[in-house]
């Protein structure tokens, strides 16, 4: 996995609440057996009409937001289906950070596994960043994971929390499976004990 340290880029506002993973990547694109190439279909039904033409009103179709790297989104982003195709599509589009007041659990975890950073902030701070994002391409935010800071286009600094283990993995681009396999002895021991205490499993 690619390392995540610091991003300076365009932030796009998506204030709609409850943006679900069906919206982020509709079911028609789940039939792939690869992880790549889904960016062009991110938000497909909001982004294109039935003929495949771009819908000009959709935020990521607007000239100033076509190279968005940071999404500032409404509450409960990523709810619904567990499909990791949703973070795959966003990452493939070029999104590196998503900021909201809350995320659905599975989407939140899936994002970290794909080198993306979801950030939870209180409503007033999300509102402030939403306003900043509305300024378009001239408004570039910086998200610094090491320092746990977001800097708005006009220099305001907002601190954020992140799980220490997840931060460590992102900063170093670590593969979870490799890390867990270092604990193989502990897994062996657990299985040995469970075979005694719960032999029916």
């Amino acid at each position: 996995m690619e390392k995540f340290t610091k991003v300076t880029g365009i932030a796009a506002p998506m204030p709609l609440v409850n943006i679900d993973t069906d919206m982020i990547i509709p079911k028609g694109f789940l039939k792939t057996i690869k992880r790549t190439g889904l960016g062009v279909h991110a938000f497909d039904e909001m982004r294109y009409d039935r003929q495949g033409n771009e819908i000009p009103d959709f935020v990521l179709n607007k000239p100033q937001y076509r190279k968005t790297e940071i999404l500032v989104a409404g509450d409960n982003f990523g709810c619904g289906s567990s499909r990791e195709h949703a973070p795959w599509a966003l990452a493939d589009f070029g999104i590196k950070v998503i900021i909201s007041t809350s995320f659905a659990d599975i989407f939140f975890n899936n994002s970290f596994k794909n080198g993306m950073l979801p950030i939870v902030l209180p409503q007033e701070q999300v509102d402030l960043l939403m306003s900043d994002a509305e300024k378009g391409e001239n408004a570039r935010m910086t998200v610094d994971l090491e320092a746990q800071e977001i800097t708005t286009s006009d220099g305001q600094v907002i601190k954020f929390e992140v799980d220490a283990f997840k931060k460590h993995c992102l900063l170093n681009g670590l593969d979870d499976i490799g890390l867990t396999l270092e604990k193989a002895t502990a897994i062996d021991t657990f299985e040995g004990q469970a075979a005694q205490s719960r032999p029916w499993v």
Partner: protein, 468 residues
């Protein structure tokens, strides 16, 4: 004496392999369910890294999302991409030696129906699947939740998951349900009250007299939609109803092991005085048959209500409600019972079990679906289908004008050919009414099986109590 624990605490503690100083745990996984849509990339990852499936005997695969529900699918699937995914699962199951129920097997069905049916799901287990409705298995007092494909690969390779413990939430349904009110109405009513983010960061334990009175089928319906309330998982403490359901299933313990298991299972309840971070209580008597009007499962109202106006809401929900009303083609103030329906879908991991089909057949018996109505029953598994045929339910549906399909996820997510056309409107027993969920521009109203059956007969959303 140790501090009182919740049911969630007990199952969690029994599965911690290791814990880091910051609370990050390695959690052991007892059962890993796999389907064709969220697994190909995970198996590919294993191959590329030269890894094996650590516990093939604890891994169970079944194709369900993509498979057509019409005859002839064993030999041919028209959609090439769907066919490739199903073939990939065939190959992966074979190559890695995991338990598998292909479409040719009568036990094939929706993964969350097959697991319990075959006795793979047992009380006190940890169960995961690359599917958010894994929450279903919580009905057995198993800690069960959906994971992403990276985590699927992680579980395949290590039989563990990296997790931090969630908070405890209690949802109590007191008293008794009124006639015509079902498990589906309970679970929708809860989401209507808490919102789709109300359970975020929590594991819900459902309890109370009304929950205790539910069959295993009903409990699975309740837990299935815990995810729609944002919860990581839903749980119901196992009891005699659970044990009676599990006993004798193909993969349930037998003999002395059954006795040993039972002894442990009987300790799986929340201790008196255990701490919950959040508590919701609803009186069973207050729950009416409900229906969703919008594009989020929290958009729930009693069938006797009218379509709301955006001004009825606050914050970000005002814009969301405007968008939902526009998408759904509804007008504020319109009676819900005046909403005309052209499609009825009875099935899914929420409501595709035998009890659901019985409830729908009860309403349909001896009647005909409204002219022009497309009404479809998709049993949750081949075994549910066979049982429904044996009980005469299939004939009731066929006589009434329903299509009687083969098992699969079908129109719940419409990945197979069972889809809504643009602006078609469906009374659906499934779990999500998201934009485009059942087909591009399709409109979904979530209801119980009995309510769906009633709508099929009248051609509009209907209070099933008037037909009982």
């Amino acid at each position: 004496m140790s501090a009182p624990k919740t049911l969630y605490d007990k199952i969690w503690d029994a599965h911690v392999v290791s814990e880091d100083a910051d609370g990050t745990c390695l959690l052991y996984i007892d059962r890993h369910l796999v389907h064709e849509v969220t697994s190909p990339q995970a198996f590919e990852g294993l191959r590329m890294a030269g890894r094996q499936v650590r516990c093939p005997e604890k891994t169970i695969a079944v194709p369900d999302h993509n498979v057509p529900t019409t005859e002839g699918r064993e030999t041919h699937i028209d959609n090439e991409e769907s066919r490739i995914q199903v073939e990939a699962l065939d190959k992966n199951a074979r190559d890695f030696g995991i338990n598998y129920y292909p479409v040719t097997d009568i036990r094939q069905g929706i993964v969350h129906i097959v697991g319990p049916e075959q006795g793979w799901t047992l009380p006190g287990m940890t169960v995961v699947c690359g599917d958010s409705h894994t929450a279903t298995h919580g009905a057995f007092g198993a800690l069960a939740h959906g994971i992403g494909t990276s985590e699927v690969e992680h579980v395949l390779a290590t039989q563990t998951l990296i997790q931090k413990k969630s908070k405890n939430m209690k949802v109590e349904i007191t008293g008794q349900l009124k006639p015509g009110v079902t498990a589906k109405d309970i679970t929708l009513a809860v989401i209507g009250k808490t919102g789709t983010g109300g359970g975020t960061g929590h594991v819900i334990e459902y309890c109370g007299e009304a929950i205790r009175a539910l069959s295993m089928e009903g409990r699975m319906t309740v837990c299935n939609m815990a995810i729609e309330g944002g919860a990581r998982a839903g749980l119901i403490a196992p009891d005699e109803t659970t044990f009676a359901y599990v006993m004798g299933r193909p993969h349930a313990p037998k003999g002395a092991q059954w006795e040993a298991a039972l002894t442990w299972w009987k300790t799986l309840f929340t201790d008196e005085g255990a701490h919950f971070d959040k508590v919701i209580t609803i009186r069973g008597e207050d729950i009416e048959p409900v229906v969703t009007w919008g594009t989020s499962p929290e958009d729930v109202l009693p069938i006797s209500a009218v379509v709301p106006a955006p001004e009825d809401f606050t914050g970000g929900k005002v814009e969301a409600a405007k968008r939902a009303l526009d998408y759904m083609g509804l007008t504020p103030g319109q009676k819900l019972t005046d909403i005309a329906i052209d499609t009825v879908f009875i099935g899914s991991c929420t409501n595709g079990r035998i009890e659901d089909l019985r409830a729908a057949a009860e309403i349909v018996k001896g009647k005909k679906v409204k002219e022009g109505m497309r009404a479809m029953v998709v049993p949750g598994s081949g075994l549910v289908r066979a049982q429904a045929e044996e009980e005469g339910l299939a004939q009731i549906f066929l006589d009434a004008g329903f299509e009687w399909r083969l098992a699969g996820c079908s129109m719940c997510l419409a990945m197979n050919p069972d889809q809504l056309g643009e602006y078609e409107r469906c009374a659906s027993t499934s779990n999500r009414n998201f934009e485009g969920r059942q087909g591009y521009k399709g409109r979904t109203h979530l209801v119980s099986p009995a309510m769906a059956a009633a709508a099929a007969l009248t051609g509009h959303l209907t209070d099933v109590r008037e037909m009982m």
